[in-house]
Symmetry: C2
């Protein structure tokens, strides 16, 4: 059985969980409190972070390496198009969310509000949170711009770009930090992806000390 | 002609330059002072960062998307192996350098010492620099451990993992922040990769206000 070392509110772990579920690969989830730096975990995984997957007799770290491996080894259903130019656009957007969105939004909002409390590493910096929430608006507007011209974020079919974006937004939504009134296009897109069976596991997540809002698991939010 | 928007001391831009050069693709380099947020650049590239490439009638941002596109479209010489497991190990190491090494070392050393001066955004934080230099030792030791068992970082052939690591180390070497005495294995590996024709462009870089040490461009350092 595939084993995934993860934490529930990590967008990178959620991205991998969505890809596994969409490809109907059963997985044994192991919560790894990576910040406690367990020597056994660090020996197996010197980067000291999650996600890490054990699959097909090997271990892989880095969410991008994991997703590319899953796509190459379990190609159905495909989450990357065949055409190199279309693949480039998907990967550009994966990078957009995993780097730009992550640095501007996730680090400032989720890490300040949730991770600092869980890892007992201080109190939220309200300036950072404010800056992060401000950036959320820029990102929702950018997604709106894309969805005005496309059915899904990278084109006319659902791809890894959509799962990556949804993984990031779903973490913020858990703490009620997405203003779904800002964009009907983004809300519609999220409703479509949230109603997929692959999303169920994420919607059932419960993080001690943080109760999600009622709309979090509601498909008609 | 391919056009690459870049800055000389960015490890992500250097990685792309190395891949282009190794694949013998001629490129027109355009220095983009992305921190000045030129409206024209931002309109074409809302992430506001480099590298961005113009190639085959399209534009791609995010170094990982660019490198995967180049590998798919210009497969010779190959910088990713054929076997999915070996590819996963290459991509894991690309992620290791682009994320773990970058956050622990590059941000603390290069960004504090060089980028803050160039972008006129303050003075180096000496605690961050110290922490970054400390982390450099951990990373050199990790590379040594890999190179004790392999000819190149990800296995027995040279791959994108080597170019990624060399791109990061070469930026630090420009400011004399790599202790080459720490590991003979890493020094030998870097000497091999540095002597490739693909490396010449990087060794000729000159950044105003920062003079590289004599050994920077010396193949017998």
């Amino acid at each position: 059985m595939i084993k995934l070392y993860h934490v529930p509110l990590s967008p990178f772990c959620r991205k991998v969980r969505l890809v596994l579920a969409e490809k109907r690969l059963e997985v044994d989830l192991v919560e790894e409190r990576y910040w406690e730096r367990d020597p056994d975990f660090l020996r197996r995984n010197p980067a000291g972070k999650v996600p890490v997957i054990r699959i097909d007799g090997m271990q892989i770290g880095e969410s991008s390496a994991i997703c590319e491996y899953l796509e190459e080894t379990y190609p159905t259903p495909a989450l990357l198009p065949q055409d190199p130019k279309e693949r480039a656009e998907v990967r550009r957007l994966v990078g957009w969310f995993d780097d730009t969105f992550f640095r501007q939004v996730t680090v400032n909002v989720l890490y300040e509000r949730v991770n600092k409390k869980i890892t007992k590493s201080g109190y939220p910096d309200s300036r950072a949170v404010k800056q992060g929430l401000q950036a959320t608006r820029f990102h929702l507007d950018y997604m709106t711009q894309l969805l005005d011209q496309r059915r899904w974020l990278a084109g006319d079919v659902m791809t890894l770009a959509d799962f990556t974006a949804a993984a990031h937004l779903s973490c913020l939504d858990y703490t009620s930090d997405v203003d779904w009134h800002r964009s009907a296009a983004v809300k519609d897109w999220y409703a479509k992806i949230k109603s997929r069976p692959a999303f169920r596991g994420l919607l059932a997540d419960q993080v001690a000390g943080f109760i999600p809002p009622a709309h979090y698991a509601d498909l008609d939010f």
